[in-house]
């Protein structure tokens, strides 16, 4: 445990000091950290799932507290919790089915192989049905099926299953659960690192010949998306807003040019002027909220408003790890981060004209340098995630696929 604790602390520090930036990087780091947490977590014989959940939650809370604005951390923690719950449930249902099987054919009760077959045969269908009915928040389907179980069922069912099952099964189930969870987490890691390709595959459906595309901020997803279209021999032009004061647009432009795209860097102030000649605005999101709102690089709201004004489609690219199950309240302020004023003004520059001794003593000069911007869902035309394109109004449903209702508040 101690080494896990130290890596957690190290990661927390990194988050606090903003050493890790970009939601993909943080998401990846978080998943890997959680994987090691899970693998090193000792599970008791009874109730292992809740033990794992508790451990992950404890670490997750630390991570989220370290940088609440980095929503990807919370998303990934929730995803891992969800994986644990799902695996636990599928094991439980499979165990029940296995017991039934055992009851039916008494003679080969001790045969592990047979039970394994039973698992594999049954688990897919049963677990899926069970998961659908138990883990999700109430949906039309569950209502129609009339399943009375609540979301709190997994605990009881798993413990019930545990108590019922034989001791011989217990150890195997324990090993199985942890193993399955780690499998699931590995799958998540693959998904996070592979989301670019998944999203980029759809580029060809959205970008046609001679298009003019505006983007801002530096997003690897956008880069891959545009390059994928370029590789398919589509010739188009890209306008990149430079994104002062961090100038990430310049970085993006550099990479785009390196890959042979026709790129024009414009100032952020020229976004409105240029938007009338732009066919599509494509941006990468920092996070996508449950209401379909987007948190993106600063200046994105301006571009979205301008796009709306000129009826230009505003497309947001977001991997599934960016889907945040929270509903934003005043996100411009609460989910924002103010960076150093020195990016805008040199510290010494105005020292001569500031009189700190006068009056109330409060300095007359404030410098505001936010990092993020919130785009309300009404301004977004389309989300492109690794599972396809979605409307802003559909995001809450998509999010329900990835997270369990218990974990929304951590």
């Amino acid at each position: 445990m101690p080494d896990v604790q130290s890596t957690v602390l190290e990661f927390v520090n990194k988050l606090r000091k903003r050493k890790i930036e970009g939601s993909q990087a943080t998401a990846k780091c978080t998943v890997e950290l959680l994987r090691s947490v899970i693998s090193q977590q000792r599970v008791p014989h009874s109730n292992q799932a809740s033990a794992l959940i508790d451990a992950v939650k404890a670490v997750g809370e630390q991570l989220v507290a370290a940088n609440p604005v980095e929503l990807a951390v919370g998303n990934v923690v929730r995803r891992v919790l969800h994986i644990i719950r799902e695996e636990d449930l599928s094991l439980a249902t499979a165990a029940m089915a296995g017991l039934d099987l055992l009851d039916a054919s008494d003679d080969d009760g001790e045969d592990d192989n047979c039970k394994g077959v039973g698992y594999s045969a049954m688990s897919a269908a049963v677990a899926a049905a069970a998961a659908r009915s138990t883990l999700r928040p109430p949906s039309l389907q569950t209502l129609l099926e009339g399943t009375p179980e609540s979301a709190a069922v997994p605990y009881t069912s798993s413990s019930g299953a545990d108590s019922e099952s034989k001791t011989a099964d217990k150890s195997s189930i324990t090993r199985k659960l942890k193993h399955d969870v780690i499998e699931g987490v590995n799958h998540l890691i693959l998904e996070i690192s592979g989301c670019h390709e998944q999203i980029a595959e759809q580029a060809i459906e959205h970008i046609h010949q001679n298009e003019v595309i505006l983007t801002l901020g530096s997003s690897r997803t956008v880069l891959e998306f545009l390059c994928a279209a370029k590789e398919k021999k589509r010739a188009f032009r890209v306008f990149v807003a430079e994104g002062a004061p961090r100038y990430q647009g310049h970085l993006l432009a550099k990479e785009l040019v390196a890959r042979g795209l026709q790129t024009t860097v414009i100032t952020d102030s020229a976004v409105f002027a240029m938007i009338s000649r732009v066919n599509m605005v494509i941006i990468g999101a920092h996070a996508v909220m449950a209401n379909g709102g987007v948190i993106g690089p600063v200046g994105v709201n301006m571009a979205a408003l301008a796009a709306k004004k000129h009826a230009v489609p505003f497309v947001v690219l977001a991997g599934s790890h960016k889907l945040c199950p929270l509903y934003p309240h005043n996100p411009e302020v609460l989910l924002n981060e103010l960076r150093s004023p020195s990016e805008l003004l040199d510290f010494g520059e105005f020292s001569d004209c500031l009189d700190f001794g006068a009056g109330s003593g409060s300095p007359l000069l404030q410098v505001v340098n936010p990092t993020f911007d919130y785009v309300p869902p009404s301004l977004v035309s389309l989300f492109i995630t690794d599972t396809g394109g979605h409307n802003p109004s559909y995001m809450y449903r998509l999010i329900a696929d990835y997270y369990s209702a218990d974990d929304l508040v951590m």
Binding site: R237, F239, E242, G243, A244, P245, Y247, H250, L251, A253, K254, V257, G260, L261, Q262, T263, T264, V265, I266, T267, D268, S269, A270, V271, F272, A273, M274, S276, R277, V298, G299, N301, M302, L305, A306, K309, E332, V333, N336, L344, L345, E349, F350, C353, L354, D355, A358, L364, L365, Q366, V367, V368, N369, P370, D373
Partner: protein, 657 residues
């Protein structure tokens, strides 16, 4: 004073509006005058009466502002959007009283309302102008005191003038003069008044006829001069094709065609339509322009395709060359040359500053000017000015306001009476330029400040974008009179003009917040009002201003924050504009390429020669009228829909007469 005061107080609702062509109803009751003259006389004299409102059927009605009505009691020159003629008339009576009484630091609701003050002095200026021009014609013997009589005398006189016009012919001018000689000063403002009156009172067709007649008269008068000019080796100053930016050349075109009357009529008709800007993707014209150019510019290698119609040149390589040339000037006056270089180097920024610098340079150039033998001053000077203007354009494309100022100057030159001696003409031109600067820019700013400051209340958070000197004056003045407010300064790359404003405001003790344009939607939530400067406002209400203004206005609109644009009326332009692409100016792309990145400074440098990477430094953008809540101008506070009204009703008499 009494005959003046009564009528002035009458119209409770000021109207600024279009005239209808059916309109000039001669029976319109005059509040002050029971003139029993012929209907025509009344019509023609109507501008002299104080109420422009009585006559117009107007789409815009501007109720008198509060402080205006306050002032009605104490002072009779009240109107926020005053009929100029009213002031002129009033001025005729008590010019001595009020000219120069303008004091910008007067308290807000003090006895001298800003608008009226501005107007008064402005009109006094123009009066001097009339006096000048007419004194030449009318033997210059009438003292100012004569003005007092004007009021009585003018009506019949103008009727006479009107009759003269009615029987229009080439000799119109003579008629006018004849009628002028009869009474003392009365005929003095004739030329001006007449056209104005016609413009205001007559139908379009009528007006056209009269204008043509005027041209014809002028043509006749100038016949000799132009013939003389024809002999000279100097090419005709104004073949439209040769103008690098013919848009500005309208008046000049008319002056040059004065030999052929038929042509002049034709041209004049064309002149009314705003001419197109030079398109830089038109190869032949660019080549022509290049052949004459003083500034040698290399076209930039990596052009932005969307902006091929705008000049895209390499920057920064001409300046050393040009500044070494300063001692071997032949065609360009050194003052103009200096201003041109300053524009090129960006030493003078801001539309007002650029315009004033240019006008001062022209003043100097006119002072040093001597008409070559066998040449006509009007023609030659216009040609000279054209040369200067095209040089300035080469240095940096003119702003709309500069175009307007140049148009004004050319009109002044064109208006010069033929029999004026050269020193007199030069002096009058210089004084006219000085008057333009004083009234249209400096005084207008003060009036705007007085208006706008009424919109600042305690506890407000005002947002401004970039650097606008009018907005700066407003903020400082509001601070001076003790308003408590906070200022948010939004800035943008690459010029970072906001820092200049920030420094000035902070030094004066204002509470400031500084941010960049991307963060505007972050900060807009706490803002209560947005004050913006303008480079120009087009007649469809589109605001043409520093790039980024549209973004700020749009975000303010989205947050339901009122957007107040402060703009002097001389910047209004009769062109229309829909987007920011068709008409714009491109700045130095390197300014964008050079980024103060700490870690990788030279990334853009290595990319310089990559064909695929371009940097676009747009200088202006256009804000649609729907984002603008109000425009504060020297004529008062108006909605953007009133711009064409102002342009039409007030511009012509200032610039085109």
């Amino acid at each position: 004073m009494d005959p003046r005061r009564g009528p002035l107080a009458v119209p409770k609702v000021r109207r600024v509006g279009f005239f209808t062509s059916i309109e000039p109803s001669p029976e319109t009751p005059r509040p002050n005058r029971s003139l029993s003259g012929p209907a025509e006389a009344i019509t023609s004299s109507s501008p002299l009466s104080d109420s422009p409102s009585g006559q117009f059927i107007s789409p815009v009605q501007i109720p008198p502002s509060r402080h205006h009505s306050d002032n009605l009691a104490s002072r009779a020159a009240p109107v926020p959007v005053p009929g100029p003629s009213a002031f002129r008339r009033q001025l005729a009576n008590d010019r001595a009283l009020h000219v120069g009484s303008y004091n910008p630091v007067d308290s807000l609701l003090g006895t001298s309302p800003p608008s009226s003050n501005g107007e008064v002095s402005e009109d006094s200026g123009s009066l001097f102008g009339f006096q000048r021009s007419d004194s030449a014609k009318l033997s210059a013997s009438f003292p100012n005191g004569g003005f007092d009589m004007t009021l009585r005398v003018r009506a019949p006189q103008e009727s006479e003038a009107k009759v003269a016009i009615a029987s229009t012919s080439d000799g119109r001018k003579k008629n006018v003069e004849a009628s002028g000689e009869g009474e003392s000063v009365a005929a003095k403002p004739l030329k001006e008044k007449e056209t104005k009156s016609l413009k205001e009172k007559t139908s379009k067709a009528e007006r056209r006829a009269i204008q043509e007649a005027q041209r014809a008269a002028k043509a006749a008068a100038k016949g000799e001069g132009s013939k003389r000019a024809g002999e000279s080796s100097r090419p005709k100053p104004s073949k439209p094709a040769k103008q690098p930016q013919p848009k500005k050349e309208a008046p000049q075109a008319t002056s040059s065609v004065s030999e052929k009357r038929a042509v002049s009529v034709e041209k004049e008709r064309r002149m009314d339509v705003p001419q197109t800007q030079m398109q830089y993707d038109d190869k032949s014209r660019v080549d022509k322009a290049k052949r004459r150019s003083v500034v040698e510019q290399t076209e930039s290698k990596n052009k932005v395709e969307l902006f091929l119609h705008l000049p895209q040149y390499e920057r920064g390589n001409q300046l050393p060359n040009l500044s070494s040339n300063i001692f071997s000037l032949d065609t360009i006056h050194h003052a103009v040359y200096k201003v041109g270089l300053q524009h090129l180097a960006g030493d003078i920024a801001g539309d007002n500053a650029r315009c004033i610098a240019m006008l001062h340079a022209f003043q100097e150039a006119i002072n040093d000017y001597t008409t070559p033998p066998m040449k006509d001053l009007t023609m030659d000077l216009t040609a000279k000015i054209n040369g200067y203007v095209s040089f300035l354009i080469e240095c940096r494309p003119l702003s709309m306001s500069m175009g307007n100022a140049i148009r004004f100057l050319k009109n002044q030159i064109r208006k010069l009476p033929v029999d004026l001696s050269e020193p007199e003409a030069k002096a009058s031109l210089c004084s006219e330029i000085g008057r333009f600067i004083d009234e249209k820019i400096l005084l207008a700013d003060k009036v705007i400040v007085q208006h706008a400051v009424t919109k600042i209340r305690d506890g407000e958070v005002l947002l401004t974008y970039g650097f606008s000197c009018v907005v700066e004056m407003i903020l400082l003045y509001a601070h001076e009179i003790g308003r408590k407010f906070r200022v948010v300064i939004v800035d943008s790359r690459p010029n970072l003009e906001g820092q200049k404003l920030l420094r000035r405001l902070v030094t004066r003790g204002l509470d400031c917040t500084y941010t960049h344009i991307n963060a505007v939607s972050y900060i807009m939530g706490e803002v209560t009002r947005v004050f913006l400067g303008a480079s120009s406002i087009f007649s469809n209400g589109t605001l043409y201003s520093k790039v980024g203004t549209a973004c700020v206005a749009m975000v303010a609109n989205a947050f339901s924050v009122p957007v107040i644009v402060c703009c002097e009326a001389y910047k209004f332009h009769e062109r229309v504009l829909l987007d920011s692409i068709c008409s714009n100016e491109l700045g130095d792309p390197d300014a964008i390429a050079n980024v103060p990145l700490r870690n990788n400074k030279k990334h853009s440098k290595t990319m310089d020669n990559n064909k695929n990477l371009q940097f676009l430094n747009l200088m202006y953008d256009s804000t649609p009228a729907e984002y603008i809540s109000m425009i504060v101008t020297d004529y008062g506070m108006i909605p953007p829909t009133s711009i064409p009204v102002i342009v039409r009703e007030y511009r012509r008499e200032d610039l085109l007469l």
